[in-house]
């Protein structure tokens, strides 16, 4: 692998920047490209699930499998767009959209009770029983004015999460 930043032209950087709605500065995009190439060990133009899981900090994350389905097969442009929700320049709306996408695994714009149960399962593992999980979720849903059969859409998520001061930012190291 030679000097990676020379493989990215100014046009490429601008295209990527546009695609992610200016979430990252040009320098950050260059750094992300170096990182992308570092992760993409076999040089296939995308980072496979195995390659992501070789980062131990990522592999121990409870939501890694869920994120892998969203990350699998992304090329660099899409990779940057994926990460754009974590930029300090991203709006709260964008962050909530990202969270919604994580829940909405079938991508139909609606989050069901089971979707939420699945994510809760990822986060708590074997330390809460299935039954208890259902109980807890039903209870808080009803307290918030929903039912077990409710299908939550994006606007519901905005209502629920919008006021709680979402902190979801990563810093891209720039040499």
């Amino acid at each position: 692998m030679g000097n990676t930043s020379s493989m990215l032209t100014q046009y490429d950087i601008e295209e990527v920047q546009q695609h992610c709605n200016n979430a990252f500065s040009q320098q950050e995009i260059v750094s992300l490209y170096e990182r992308f190439c570092q992760l993409d060990r076999n040089g296939g133009g995308f980072v496979s699930g195995e390659e992501f899981l070789s980062v131990p900090e990522f592999a121990v994350n409870p939501l890694s499998q869920r994120l892998l389905t969203m990350l699998d097969g992304l090329n660099f442009k899409e990779f940057v767009a994926f990460l754009s929700a974590f930029s300090p320049r991203a709006t709260v709306q964008q962050k909530i959209e990202f969270i919604f996408k994580v829940y909405d695994s079938d991508g139909n714009g609606k989050v069901t009770f089971n979707d939420m149960l699945d994510v809760l399962h990822d986060l708590t593992g074997q330390f809460i029983s299935e039954h208890q999980r259902e109980q807890v979720l039903t209870k808080v849903l009803e307290e918030a004015g929903y039912t077990k059969e409710s299908l939550l859409v994006m606007s519901d998520f905005v209502k629920i999460l919008g006021s709680s001061g979402l902190k979801m930012e990563v810093e891209v190291p720039v040499d």
Binding site: G2, E57, F86, T124, G125, V136, L161, K167, M168
Partner: protein
Amino acid sequence: MSSGKGGELIPSSSELDLDRPNIEDYLPSGSSIQEPLGKLRLCDLLDISPTLTEAAGAIVDDSFTRCFKSNPPEPWNWNVYLFPLWCCGVVIRYLILFPVRVIVLTVGWIIFLSCFIPVHLLLKGHDKLQKNMERALVELICSFFVASWTGVINYHGPRPSMRPKQVFVANHTSMIDFIILEQMSSFAVIMQKHPGWVGLLQSTILESVGCIWFNRTEAKDRETVTKKLREHSQGVDNNPLLIFPEGTCVNNQYSVMFKKGAFELGCTICPIAIKYNKIFVDAFWNSRKQSFTMHLLQLMTSWAVVCDVWYLEPQNLRPDETPIEFAERVRDIISVRAGLKKVPWDGYLKYSRPSPKHRERKQQSFAESVLRRLEEN
């Protein structure tokens, strides 16, 4: 010592669990879910942003991958007069220095083999004399190797003494670490068994200085090796043991966690810190990218291998210390001396996945906080 294969992942064996202290003590994020107060609401359950942030942080940059990053040298030959200079340099290195070095090495091997083989075969009865001669000869061939890279090695500190119940530990950058140290005094090294010509050398010549082999991929191997280590360290006449507790080659800017095996033998630990000067050549052997032969060739076509070796003050297990704490303390001593940044990862994660224990710990802490808040209604 790393194997040459490219990153096949084997299921993490239980040995990885035993070797590590609590990673949570090191990682900056600590407990990933904040401790919120009061009643559990829907937004608390749905808000997965802390976990997502950790995952994204790991994707963007992580301390483990940084340990094995070999920075390609910046090209400096970018204009009219620098480029011909650089070309001259290439010519000198490849067409003058390299053949001279090959000749030096060949001469060295001839001298070595013509002395070693008779000594090995004829002096079978005279153990002490044979051992001493073989030691001297191995030191000789290592000197020839070092000469073949124009090694400029600065040794600091008192030379290792040959006493029993003494184990030397060092940080690990490449297999040449062993050669550099062996040149000064004879050690018995613990090495991963390699295939090819290296393996041949291991089973013939290095056996004579008492080296011990292990096979990283065999789970049961660890117990047999520990036993061999213990026997060797108790022996009076054996060469002192040299162990690289990181278990794998790291890029000489970071240090990964030390395995506790060397620190449980009940011996005095003598730390050695090795730091290579990157200006001359990057001596990091990235076993995922290069075979050892290519690595040696790269060294032989560079200007020089310049490094500092510090023999540090011997350490003993303190009465209130566990072996793992002892290992961390020694790692700290070596890292400070060699200017390495410490990283909380096990080097073997190069070859296998982290234990599910870490993920489970996060899950457990979140589950407990949910249940606790539920009861606060």
